[in-house]
């Protein structure tokens, strides 16, 4: 058992499964975000309200937080080991053909992490009462934030980073869990590219529409 938990392959499996979980979650979250575009705040707020009160969702929130933490912790451990595995660098940088964004996963993850901290600060900490704010009206909070050019810029940059992260990550996760099939892997790769463009683009258009329509 200890050898299982300590193994590099187990850590990789955990990162991949957590990542796939987050990929599904991003879809749900995006669907709710689109309610922000309605002029009637009550729909979004009641969705947020439902999220805050429903016991199933409450449990889910803890799970979600743990999934994020596990993904970050494990991938950082793996990354540190990877840096240590080549103490002396080549003087001529690599010219091998690789999955382009695979080289920058940790940095892209870092940008996403900064955004996550900001995001928690704005919504989650208000909800659990750590900081002040109107937890009944996240609609207004989101609309206020999306009027600030700085916030919209950070938001857009973060989701571009997420797009790059997922460009490699989607298909990589399938390879990690052991799925590599002559016939279906090209489809997985295609879906991964599609997902990594469309979903972050979906997140990005919402603040842009709100920002530009003010």
């Amino acid at each position: 058992m200890r050898r299982f938990l300590g193994s590099s392959l187990t850590k990789k499996l955990v990162v991949a499964l957590a990542g796939l979980f987050l990929i599904v979650f991003l879809l749900v979250h995006l669907a709710i975000n689109f309610l922000l575009l309605k002029s009637d705040p009550s729909v979004f707020n009641s969705a947020a309200e439902f999220m805050a009160s429903n016991i199933v969702i409450k449990v889910f929130e803890v799970v979600l937080l743990l999934v994020f933490l596990v993904h970050i912790l494990m991938s950082v451990i793996l990354q540190i080991q990877n840096w240590m595995a080549r103490p002396t660098q080549y003087k001529v940088g690599t010219r091998s053909k690789t999955s382009f964004f695979s080289k920058y996963m940790i940095y892209l993850g870092g940008i996403i992490l900064i955004f996550l901290v900001l995001h928690f600060f704005h919504f989650f900490f208000i909800k659990i009462g750590w900081i002040e704010g109107d937890s009944d009206n996240f609609y207004a909070l989101a609309h206020d934030l999306f009027k600030l050019p700085l916030y919209v810029s950070i938001y857009v940059i973060s989701f571009v980073a997420l797009s790059f992260h997922l460009n490699h990550a989607f298909q990589s996760a399938f390879q990690t869990i052991g799925f590599n099939h002559q016939k279906y892997t090209p489809t997985v790769k295609f879906l991964g590219v599609l997902y990594s463009i469309l979903i972050p683009a979906g997140y990005i258009v919402i603040p842009l529409i709100i920002f530009l329509s003010e």
Partner: protein
């Protein structure tokens, strides 16, 4: 043709090392890469200078001794070849060629371009074999193997253990190497017997030897002189998880 070489020279494992530049005036495009290096070394000996050390043995792409990191790519710019099969016709008159040894914690430099790849032997010792009585070759048709599976085993079995996968990987991971061995045996009845134990001991040994972790960048597959496929790594992952939960 005229070639400028920047060769990594390092007295010993402890020495810091650095590049030394050599100019060659008369390199034939018909030479292989090690033949070109030999001719430079002969010049150095004639000039009473110390020749540099580099590995090679079979010079026909089967022993896996000769790997060098050439202009940012293991085994240089030619696809699907070892360093000894790399042809000088891949270079142009006036080119500068920078040559470095394989870089990985698990592959310490011994001298100049020669690294210690004992770690690959240790990986094989951890499970890259089948336990069977030796003796006369058994009757070939006694154990039926399907064409698909023998193809998979063969494509994985052509690995020559040169270390290109480790050298090319940004994480210095040996996953392509051990997954080729694990795959080769996992699909054959003779190897199946010890499959569970093998995948676990080989992965544990890889971790212990200080190789990095795979992040599916694909550099190993792109550079492997024997064109071993990433699908072997996925198969090894499956084998590993299956072995752990059963």
């Amino acid at each position: 043709m005229k070639i400028t070489l920047k060769i990594w020279r390092q007295e010993s494992a402890q020495d810091k090392g650095g590049f030394v530049t050599y100019k060659m005036d008369d390199v034939s495009t018909e030479m292989t890469f090690p033949e070109m290096l030999d001719s430079l070394n002969e010049d150095l000996i004639k000039r009473n200078e110390v020749p540099f050390a580099f590995d090679s043995d079979c010079r026909e792409g089967i022993c896996g001794m000769c790997g060098l990191y050439i202009n940012g790519r293991p085994n240089g710019p030619q696809e699907g070849v070892t360093t000894c099969q790399l042809n000088m016709s891949m270079f142009k008159d006036g080119d500068t060629i920078t040559i470095e040894p394989w870089r990985a914690k698990a592959f310490p430099v011994i001298k100049d371009l020669v690294v210690d790849r004992t770690a690959l032997d240790k990986l094989i010792q951890a499970g890259g074999f089948i336990s069977a009585k030796t003796g006369a070759a058994p009757e070939a048709n006694a154990i039926p193997v399907s064409k698909e599976e023998s193809d998979i085993a063969f494509d994985a079995g052509v690995c020559i253990g040169c270390g290109t996968c480790v050298a090319s990987c940004k994480n210095a991971s040996a996953m392509l190497f051990i997954s080729a061995k694990v795959s080769q045996f996992a699909v054959l009845p003779q190897g199946r017997v010890e499959a569970k134990e093998r995948v676990q001991t080989m992965v544990a040994q890889m971790d212990a030897l200080g190789f990095g972790n795979c992040t599916n960048t694909g550099a190993c597959e792109a550079e492997c002189p024997k064109e071993i496929k990433l699908s072997n790594i996925a198969r090894m992952n499956r084998e590993f998880y299956k072995a752990k939960i059963s």
